[in-house]
C-alpha cells in the first residue's frame, strides 16, 4: 500500500462531535502530503456513535478522535510508507 487511507464518519453523531473540522484539517494535511493520503467520508462506522467522532485509518477504527490524535496516527502511517 502506498497510500494512507483515512475514512471519516460524517453521520449525524460524528458531525455533531466535530467530524467536519477533522475533514477540513485532513484536507490541509492532504495538500502537504499530496497524493499520499486518500480521504473518504462514510455515513456510519459500525454504529459506534456513542464514541463519536469515529475515524478509520488503513482499516483500523479510532474512537473519540481529536485532530491532534488523528494527525499523529496519520503522520505515523505516512512515515512507514
Amino acid at each position: 500500500m502506498n497510500k494512507v487511507k483515512v475514512e471519516i464518519c460524517i453521520g449525524t453523531p460524528c458531525y455533531l462531535m466535530g467530524a467536519r473540522e477533522l475533514i477540513d484539517e485532513m484536507q490541509k494535511l492532504k495538500k502537504i502530503y499530496e497524493d499520499k493520503i486518500e480521504l473518504k467520508s462514510l455515513h456510519c462506522i459500525e454504529e459506534r456513535c456513542e464514541k463519536a467522532p469515529i475515524v478509520k485509518v488503513n482499516g483500523q477504527i479510532y474512537e473519540e478522535v481529536t485532530y491532534d490524535k488523528l494527525q499523529k496516527v496519520v503522520k505515523d502511517k505516512l512515515s512507514k510508507l
Partner: protein, 484 residues
C-alpha cells in the same frame, strides 16, 4: 467570520444535551438525571479541572441551565430538585449566564512585564508612565498594579515588545463592554449593557459562560401526545446539519422524530420584507430614516446604548414573531424557533406566540438522541414556504438587497455587519455624520450565518442558502401568495 470550533468544552456541552434529551424522550429523566454527571465525567476519563468531583459539579450546573434555571440563583438545589419545578423556570430573566464554578478567574492585571525585558538604558516605559507605576526591580521593569491606570502607553513604547496586554477572552469578545468581574474575580455580566449576542459564550475557553435552553421543555412537548409542535426553521438552517444534507431531508426527518409540522421562517421574512418596505417608503417620504428590526441584539444595542435612536427602529416585528403569529392564527400548535441565535431566546420571552427557541446545536442533539442519522436518511418533503427574498435574510446584506429590490436602487442603504460595525455606524448616525434611508443591523459577523450557535462555516452556509434561494418558486416576496 469564523466557524465555531468543536472544542472539548463544546463536546461536553453537547454530550450533556444528548443525554438529557435521550432521557426525557424515553421518559426516564426523573430517575436518571442525577446519574448524568457520572456518565459524562468518568473516573478514568479526560480531566480538565482539578478533580473529577469539580468536573461533575460543573456538569450539574450546566444541567440546571439546560433545565432553564440560573445556576447562581439555585446554588443549593440539585438538578433533580429543579426538575420538579417545571413551569417555574427563570430562563427569561437572563439568557446569557456565567457558571461561576467553571470560571477560572482569569488574571485581571491588564499590563505585565514579560521576560523579554532587557532593562535597557532608555527605559522608555518608566519615562512614559503618567502615574509613575513602573520601577526597575532585579534588573527588570515592574508594574505596580496598584498605581497602574491601564493606559497602555508603556506597551506602545517598549522597543522589545516586552509588555504583555492581558485581556480576558470574554471581555475582549464583548463589543458593548458588558463584561466585568466580581470581588472574587469571577466574570460578571452587566445586564444593563448586555445585548445577548452570545460572543462571550464562544470566547470563554473554560466554557464558563453559557445560555439557558428550552431543550428539556421541547423534548417534553415532543412526547406529550396532547400537544402539537411546529418547528420554525430560521433562513440560515441550510447546510447546518452537514453540507450535503438537503433542506427537504431535514423537514421530513424532523417530522419523523415528532415535530408535527415544519415551516420556513423565510415566509415570515417575506411578510416582514413587505411590511418593513412600506414602513421605509413612508419614512423616506417624511425625510426620515429607518433602522432594521429583525436582529434582536441590534435592536437591544440601539435600545441600551443609543436610546435616542429608539424611535427610528422599525416597528415591524421580526420574521420569527411574524411566522409564529401566523401559526397561532391557523392552528393550535405550540411553536419552536430553531436558529443559530442566542438572542432569539431573549426575544421570544416578549411574545406569547413563540413558545420555545432552540439553537441548531440543541436541535441536532435532539436528533442524535432520537437515534436519527441524517446522512442515511433519504425521505424528502417539499419545501416552498418562502420566496428567494425571505431566504436571503440569512446573511449580512440579504435584507438590504431585498429592500433595494422592492423599493428601487435609489434608496441609500448601509449595512452593519457585526456589532463593532453596527456601533460605529450608529455613532455616525447619531452625530449626523452620514445620511441614510435604511440601516441593516446584524450583530453577528456575516449575519445569522455567523451566529454563535452555527454548525457550519458561515461562508459555506451562505453559498448553500444562495443555492436554496435560487430554487424558490418565487423570486420576490410580493410574488409569494402565502404572505397574504
Amino acid at each position: 467570520m469564523a466557524a465555531n470550533t468543536v472544542s472539548e468544552i463544546v463536546k461536553i456541552k453537547r454530550k450533556i444535551y444528548i443525554e438529557l434529551a435521550k432521557q426525557v424522550l424515553n421518559n426516564k429523566i426523573n430517575e436518571r438525571i442525577d446519574k448524568i454527571p457520572y456518565k459524562i465525567a468518568k473516573e478514568d476519563g479526560d480531566r480538565y479541572r482539578c478533580c473529577v468531583h469539580k468536573e461533575r459539579a460543573i456538569i450539574g450546573e450546566r444541567i440546571k441551565l439546560a433545565l432553564g434555571f440560573d445556576p447562581q440563583l439555585h446554588k443549593d438545589e440539585t438538578p433533580a430538585d429543579l426538575l420538579k419545578k417545571e413551569g417555574e423556570e427563570d430562563c427569561c430573566d437572563n439568557i446569557v449566564n456565567v457558571i461561576e464554578l467553571a470560571c477560572d478567574s482569569c488574571p485581571i492585571d491588564k499590563y505585565t512585564v514579560t521576560d523579554s525585558c532587557r532593562n535597557c538604558v532608555a527605559h522608555k516605559c518608566v519615562n512614559v508612565c503618567p502615574v509613575d507605576a513602573i520601577v526597575t526591580i532585579q534588573n527588570k521593569a515592574f508594574i505596580d498594579q496598584k498605581k497602574c491606570i491601564e493606559c497602555g502607553r508603556c506597551r506602545q513604547v517598549c522597543p522589545y515588545g516586552a509588555i504583555h496586554e492581558n485581556v480576558r477572552p470574554c471581555v475582549r469578545a464583548c463589543s458593548v463592554d458588558a463584561l466585568t468581574s466580581n470581588s472574587e474575580r469571577k466574570a460578571k455580566i452587566d445586564y444593563s449593557k448586555c445585548v445577548d449576542c452570545g460572543s462571550c459564550i464562544q470566547a470563554c475557553p473554560f466554557g464558563a459562560i453559557s445560555d439557558s435552553t428550552d431543550l428539556v421543555n421541547v423534548c417534553r412537548t415532543i412526547i406529550d401526545k396532547d400537544k402539537k409542535l411546529t418547528a420554525m426553521l430560521a433562513p440560515s438552517f441550510v447546510g447546518q446539519f452537514g453540507a450535503k444534507i438537503q433542506p427537504e431531508v431535514i423537514k421530513s426527518a424532523l417530522k419523523e422524530i415528532g415535530f408535527n409540522d415544519v415551516i420556513e421562517v423565510g415566509l415570515g421574512a417575506d411578510m416582514v420584507a413587505l411590511e418593513e418596505g412600506e414602513e421605509l417608503n413612508e419614512k423616506i417620504s417624511e425625510g426620515d430614516f429607518l433602522l432594521s428590526s429583525c436582529c434582536p441584539s441590534f435592536k437591544k444595542t440601539v435600545n441600551k446604548h443609543f436610546p435616542i435612536l429608539n424611535q427610528k427602529v422599525s416597528k415591524t416585528v421580526s420574521p420569527m414573531v411574524k411566522i409564529a403569529e401566523r401559526i397561532k392564527e391557523t392552528s393550535d400548535h405550540e411553536t419552536v424557533f430553531i436558529g443559530p441565535c442566542v438572542s432569539k431566546k431573549a426575544e421570544s420571552c416578549n411574545y406569547s406566540t413563540v413558545d420555545y427557541v432552540l439553537t441548531f446545536e440543541e436541535l441536532l442533539c435532539i436528533i442524535v438522541a432520537s437515534n436519527m442519522n441524517l446522512a442515511n436518511y433519504e425521505q424528502k418533503e417539499k419545501m416552498n414556504d418562502s420566496s428567494a427574498h425571505g431566504r436571503q435574510f440569512a446573511y449580512s446584506g440579504g435584507l438590504s438587497a431585498v429592500m433595494l429590490d422592492l423599493l428601487g436602487e435609489h434608496i441609500n442603504v448601509v449595512k452593519g455587519n457585526g456589532l463593532d460595525q453596527c456601533m460605529e455606524l450608529l455613532k455616525k448616525i447619531m452625530k449626523d455624520e452620514i445620511e441614510i434611508d435604511f440601516m441593516e443591523g446584524m450583530a453577528c459577523q456575516g449575519g445569522c450565518t455567523g451566529g454563535p450557535a452555527n454548525l457550519n462555516k458561515p461562508q459555506v452556509t451562505k453559498k448553500l442558502v444562495e443555492i436554496f434561494a435560487k430554487k424558490s418558486e418565487h423570486k420576490k416576496a410580493d410574488q409569494n401568495e402565502k404572505t397574504a
